[in-house]
């Protein structure tokens, strides 16, 4: 079974920070972390550059039959994800227990 990895997003994913964070996610996924719980509890600013980093990570996961779950998403971040169509790609949950269940589901 693929390992489950939990990653805390930073407070801000913008044009400056998204490149490094996205590259970190891709390295993690390519290293085998294909069941990814992304904890967005600290994230309070998400720009289109951040969404693009998440889209690239999701694409890399799908190519490896992996899965991404979003944990603890603030309303302002949720709105950006909804507008960019990302909500349809990764389920959103409110507890780590629920995240573990959902990410392990086939």
């Amino acid at each position: 079974m693929q390992p489950t990895v939990t990653v805390d997003a930073p407070a801000r994913l913008d044009g400056i920070t998204s490149g490094d964070f996205g590259a970190f996610l891709i390295r993690l996924i390519e290293g085998g972390g294909c069941r990814l719980i992304l904890d967005l509890g600290s994230l309070d600013y998400l720009s289109s550059a951040g969404v693009r980093a998440l889209l690239l990570a999701h694409k890399a996961l799908v190519a490896r039959q992996g899965k991404m779950v979003l944990l603890s998403c603030r309303p302002s971040v949720q709105e950006v994800l909804r507008i960019c169509g990302f909500e349809a790609l990764a389920p959103r949950v409110e507890s780590i227990e629920a995240a573990r269940l959902v990410v392990r589901r086939p």
């Binding site: 801000r12 913008d14 044009g15 720009s47 289109s48 969404v51 693009r52 694409k59 302002s76 960019c84």
Partner: protein
């Protein structure tokens, strides 16, 4: 006459200045009693537009001024952003193709501008682009 508060902020085309500007705008609007439900989308839209200016507007590597005027009226917050870059009207930009690959920039920033705000206007005034972002208070 209706009471309107006005604030002016200035920055240059240095991406590192954006977060400070957004923090100042948020603190100013919160002090005026504006709710985060209004401030957060406005700040994301402001950030998208300024990142767009910094990335695409200038033909040279020099320092350029960007001015942000904010007016808080009885029903709206209106943010006007002025830059001296090449003309670009975000209202004319094609709609986002939802199937666009994440590997390429696809106009997600402009898409966010259109959907986070209640109003988006563009004017070319002399050598300046003026973009006006409007968010209703309720």
């Amino acid at each position: 006459m209706e009471n309107t508060q006005s604030y002016e902020f200035n920055l240059t085309n240095n991406p590192a200045e954006l977060e400070t500007l957004q923090s100042r705008l948020q603190a100013t609007l919160q002090a005026d009693g504006i709710r985060l439900r209004v401030i957060s989308p406005l700040n994301v839209a402001l950030g998208e537009w300024i990142e767009n200016i910094i990335q695409y507007a200038y033909a040279d590597d020099g320092t350029h001024s960007i001015t942000v005027d904010c007016r808080v009226g009885p029903t709206d917050v209106v943010v006007q952003i002025t830059d001296d870059g090449r003309p670009f009207n975000p209202c004319d930009y094609p709609a986002l193709d939802p199937s666009a690959s994440p590997s390429v920039p696809a106009g997600r920033g402009i898409h966010l501008l259109r959907h986070l705000l209640d109003g988006l206007e563009y004017q070319r005034q002399g050598a300046n682009n003026v973009v006006i972002l409007t968010k209703h208070l309720s």
